[in-house]
């Protein structure tokens, strides 16, 4: 397993540069947290790793497969379980249908028992035959994380998995992240909840205006000193923007 490698990756939307020559590595068996202000480029990066967005330049490899080629991108998608920050569900489909559809598309219908176990763990067993569109925001996030965990073979990518989720949901998500890392997967998580991230992650990457501003162990951004350092990083961006 080789995890995720980004070398000088840029993502542009027209004239807007969302990610600017980002170089990053997510190692197998470790959890990489992504921090940064709004519009820092976290979601764009994760969407590209998830195979949903195309990167404009640079080299992006997942499990050794280059996402720039169609075959490589499909091979990489087969390895990644991706939970987007918004959407990512079929509003008219039930959790059971989601699990079966993913199983069929990924050729892993034999993992149904694992899916059933995850449904129990994520507290969705009472709503497994109701359309996802009728769920609360928190329940939708739980289902989205569940599907990513179920789909992940070598890489688990979670974009804002704790958004709107209650404490028990946060606990289950953190344990799922830990389990995936223990199983040897490269896990990448983004959130604005700095304390939660530093406790759940091994390494942290801070993005500012699409660039890598800092890359360090999660302990370096924990505690009051870490919070101050992180705030300084974000503030430096504001000062630059105003200037």
């Amino acid at each position: 397993m080789t995890g995720v490698d980004l070398a000088e990756v840029s993502i542009r939307y027209g004239d807007v540069v969302a990610v600017d020559r980002l170089t990053l590595h997510a190692a197998p068996g470790r959890v990489l947290g992504m921090l940064g202000g709004n519009g820092a480029g976290k979601s764009s990066t994760l969407r590209a790793i998830g195979g949903v967005n195309a990167h404009t330049s640079g080299r992006l490899c997942v499990g050794g497969f280059d996402l720039a080629t169609p075959d490589g991108a499909d091979a990489a998608r087969a390895l990644v379980g991706y939970c987007p920050d918004i959407g990512g569900l079929i509003a008219q489909a039930t959790p059971d249908e989601h699990i079966d559809l993913l199983g069929s598309l990924r050729g892993s219908r034999g993992k149904r028992a694992v899916g059933d176990d995850l449904v129990e763990r994520f507290g969705l067993s009472t709503v497994r035959d109701r359309p996802a569109g009728t769920f609360s925001h928190g329940m939708q996030r739980r289902l989205s994380v569940l599907l990513a965990v179920l789909a992940a073979r070598e890489v688990l990518v979670l974009d804002e998995p704790f958004d709107g989720v209650d404490p028990s949901g946060v606990e289950v998500t953190v344990s799922a992240i830990r389990d995936a890392a223990r199983a040897g997967m490269a896990v990448i998580v983004s959130t604005h909840l700095q304390q939660l991230l530093t406790s759940a992650c091994d390494d942290v990457a801070v993005l500012v205006k699409g660039r890598l501003a800092a890359s360090c162990g999660s302990d370096e951004l924990s505690g009051p000193d870490g919070e101050r350092r992180y705030a300084d990083l974000l503030r430096s961006d504001v000062v630059e923007a105003v200037a």
Partner: protein, 520 residues
């Protein structure tokens, strides 16, 4: 009354101001498109006003056109009845489906501006006038007036009469729409669907009970015919009296509509209780069948897609069949209607906004290996199968309940297939290339906004529906011509599919679509 007048002035001013605002934020290309669309609409209107001359000329010069001219010209003409029947159906069913009185801006977007309440009345009216709901009745009435004055005498008066009739019909539609909305807000939120069933039953009963079986649209067609004849006979008094009566009706309906709108908007919006559906379908193991199952299930479970299709299948087409049957119309026009309408309805309900219907699911599917290829293929397949399948069912019903021989069916099925292929190709292309032009949010809203819908309807009617009908008609007379058209359509569809596939294969384009619709 002074208060109402003040509000009317403020409402009109707000409508004009917001329309200008919308025009200002349009891109130069969109502005050009709007101007081209206005030009096309004007040309169509002029063409409709000249229909009488075309039919007369065709009757004189072509033996093929003679049966058509027999139906359209003279005292036994069904032109005016058909046009008025279509207008009446629109006036009743457009408000029920919610297609009438749509707003150009969602209410939430205007929360900070708070325009005068009656802005919604004029805005809804303006949107209806610019949408298929308003333009198609105008074209039909104009063509009917032209045919009713085929020799050219009294044409100007006939055009004036149908213009006033159309305006009155639009105002009646607005009044009906606001009455329904008031009733929904005050008493029954699910009123629309009860009304649809009741109206269909009442219309069916009225056709059965009426001695003329609806041929004269319950006395409306003869009255309008008399007025047009009076114009042709230069009877200024009769024409003035008739026009004055129509204008009086229009004014009364306008005031009633304004009062109804003002009263309605003092109440909070109706909340329609959703039935909590439970139960999962069995998803096949094969990835292709699994994708097909999920798309078909999504189509069936999305009420914004499902309901217009059910309305078309269970209400509109049977009513049209009954009307043609009892009014003594040409039975083959039932098959012609199916050839033209079913592919169009499927395109507007599903094809042009399939990514809007799927919403966040697009992100989920694009993250799965190989699913992006399956997605586009199956979107096309679902629409083609539904369009041809539903059309075929209706055609079988039409032949079984009429005097038509079964031998006419293959030609019309070929026409339906051609029409479906062209409509599907066009609509999925719109979805892939311009998913942002259709309304993607707002549960319960029609999927395609009025002005965009108008453009789509015109293009699909002028290409798919016309070619399909041409194949159906020529297949019986000149089979080799129909065969050549079918081959050309097949080649063109293949080329169009290749172009669409190339576009969809571009990861940057897929990213753009996913980002646009994935936020839902």
């Amino acid at each position: 009354m002074t208060g109402l007048l003040d509000e009317v002035v403020q409402g009109l001013a707000a409508t004009i101001r917001l329309s200008r605002l919308r025009a200002r934020v349009r891109t130069p290309q969109a502005r050009l498109r709007a101007r081209v669309a206005a030009g096309v609409a004007l040309c169509l209107l002029v063409a409709a006003a000249a229909t009488g001359d075309v039919v007369t000329w065709s009757a004189a010069h072509s033996s093929l056109a003679s049966p058509l001219s027999r139906h359209l010209l003279g005292d036994s003409s069904v032109g005016l009845s058909t046009a008025l029947g279509a207008v009446l159906a629109g006036v009743v069913f457009a408000p029920i489906t919610g297609a009438a009185a749509q707003a150009q801006f969602p209410d939430a977007d205007l929360a900070g501006i708070r325009p005068s309440r009656l802005y919604r009345y004029f805005d809804g009216l303006w949107n209806s006038v610019l949408s298929p709901v308003g333009v198609s009745p105008l074209l039909l009435l104009m063509a009917a007036a032209s045919v009713a004055t085929a020799d050219g005498r009294g044409r100007a008066t006939a055009v004036l009469v149908v213009l006033v009739t159309w305006l009155a019909a639009m105002l009646v539609m607005a009044l009906f729409a606001w009455t329904i909305e008031l009733t929904r807000r005050r008493w029954v939120a699910r009123l629309r669907w009860y009304l649809a069933v009741v109206s269909a039953l009442v219309a069916a009963l009225a056709v059965l009970v009426d001695p003329a079986h609806g041929r004269g649209v319950f006395g409306l067609a003869p009255a309008l015919q008399r007025l047009i004849r009076a114009g042709a006979a230069d009877s200024a008094v009769s024409v003035s009296a008739g026009l004055a009566a129509l204008i009086l009706v229009a004014v009364v309906v306008l005031v009633a509509g304004l009062l109804m709108c003002r009263r309605t908007l003092t109440l909070p919006a109706a909340v329609e209780r959703l039935r909590q559906r439970t139960g999962s379908v069995s998803v096949p193991v094969n990835p292709s069948w699994a994708m097909l199952t999920m798309l078909a299930t999504t189509l069936v479970r999305t009420r914004e897609v499902r309901r217009p299709i059910i309305m078309m299948l269970a209400v509109a087409m049977p009513l049209l069949f009954a009307w043609i049957h009892y009014s003594g119309g040409d039975p083959s026009s039932m098959l012609a209607s199916v050839t033209m309408v079913v592919p169009l309805a499927m395109s507007l309900g599903w094809g042009v906004n399939v990514f809007g219907v799927l919403g966040g699911a697009v992100t989920l599917l694009l993250a799965q290996p190989g699913a992006w290829k399956l997605l586009i293929r199956h979107v096309v397949l679902v629409q083609l199968v539904a369009s041809v399948g539903l059309g075929l069912v209706l055609m079988v019903v039409a032949v079984a309940t009429s005097t038509l021989p079964w031998s006419v069916l293959p030609a019309y099925v070929a026409g339906l297939a051609v029409s479906s292929v062209i409509a599907t190709g066009l609509s999925v292309r719109y979805s892939v290339e311009k998913p942002h032009r259709t309304r993607l949010t707002g549960r319960g809203d029609p999927l395609v906004p009025p002005i965009v819908g108008m453009g789509y309807v015109i293009r699909i009617m002028l290409t798919g529906a016309t070619t399909g009908l041409a194949v159906a008609v020529t297949a019986g007379l000149l089979p080799w011509v129909a065969a050549v058209v079918c081959v050309v359509v097949a080649l063109s569809a293949y080329r169009s599919w290749r172009r669409l596939s190339r576009r969809w294969a571009d990861p940057a384009h897929r990213s753009w679509v996913a980002a646009l619709v994935g936020a839902m």
